[in-house]
């Protein structure tokens, strides 16, 4: 019989953090589209974006700590899996730098992001969060191969 501790040892911390990131993105995506109608939600959006950024750094740290040997020299890995894991380590840079920028835009404009002159920043914010979400999804898909 499995004990509770055995069950806990099966849980991958990176996977849990990744699941949390996906849940938080699920909350952020509708909120960012609602900014124009209800600008007061920028505080919740700020908190969620900060959480996602910290979780991303945590995932990266766990993922990198798990990599054995020099990353680009993993000869034992199959060709497709190696190229996809290289791709994964490269595109993770996109959400890592886009999320702080979106946080800074929100910090600058706060609830006045709904004003007409802030149209380009609203579009930039949506683009940054959408691209971060898509790259996170592609990282998840590539991890399966």
């Amino acid at each position: 019989m499995f004990s509770f501790l055995d069950l806990l040892s099966l849980i991958d911390p990176g996977l849990i953090l990744f699941g949390l990131v996906m849940i938080l993105f699920g909350a952020v995506l509708p909120l960012v589209f609602l900014l124009k109608i209800c600008p007061k939600i920028y505080r919740i959006l700020l908190i969620l974006l900060c959480l996602i950024e910290f979780l991303f750094i945590g995932i990266l740290w766990i993922d990198l700590a798990g990599v054995q040997g020099t990353f680009y020299l993993q000869g034992a890995v199959a060709e497709l899996s190696a190229s996809l894991s290289t791709h994964r380590f490269l595109i993770v840079q996109a959400p890592l730098f886009l999320l702080p920028s979106s946080i800074l835009i929100l910090l600058a404009y706060k609830d006045r992001i709904q004003e007409n002159h802030a149209k380009w920043y609203r579009v930039t914010l949506i683009a940054m969060i959408l691209v971060s979400f898509v790259s996170t999804l592609s990282i998840a898909c590539e991890s399966l191969i």
């Binding site: 990266l60 680009y72 190229s83 290289t86």
Partner: protein, 118 residues
């Protein structure tokens, strides 16, 4: 009546600098990624940590580029009317994003030029 005059000032330079810094960092990131995989000298330079390999140098240099470009653009746009720059910086950001995703595709990344001796 005075509400209009008491409106808080928006630090637009911060938003513009953040967008610009993200675009510059993504552009430098794919160039560095490409150099590291193509040039052996760069590969050796970017191994900051033996445990994490070349990725440590790539992430660290990208972070430094982000912070430096953010600081420089903040200084540049400070106390300036940057309203006419909004659209230009947005399109620069979008094109940088597009080029980053194209240049990090596995197909392009493993692209090599073979020169055959005649």
């Amino acid at each position: 009546m005075f509400k209009r005059f008491l409106k808080k000032h928006i630090p637009e330079s911060l938003a513009l600098a953040a967008t610009f810094a993200a675009a510059v960092t993504l552009t430098f990131a794919w160039i560095l990624n490409l150099l590291v995989t193509r040039v052996d000298v760069f590969y050796e330079w970017f191994v900051f940590s033996e445990r994490f390999g070349v990725v440590s140098g790539l992430y660290f240099s990208a972070s430094i580029i982000y912070l430096v470009s953010l600081f420089l653009m903040l200084c540049w746009y400070r106390n300036k009317d940057c309203s006419h720059q909004r659209e230009n910086v947005f399109w620069f950001f979008l094109s940088a994003l597009f080029v980053f995703f194209v240049m990090t595709l596995p197909g392009i990344f493993s692209f090599e030029i073979f020169v055959q001796n005649m």
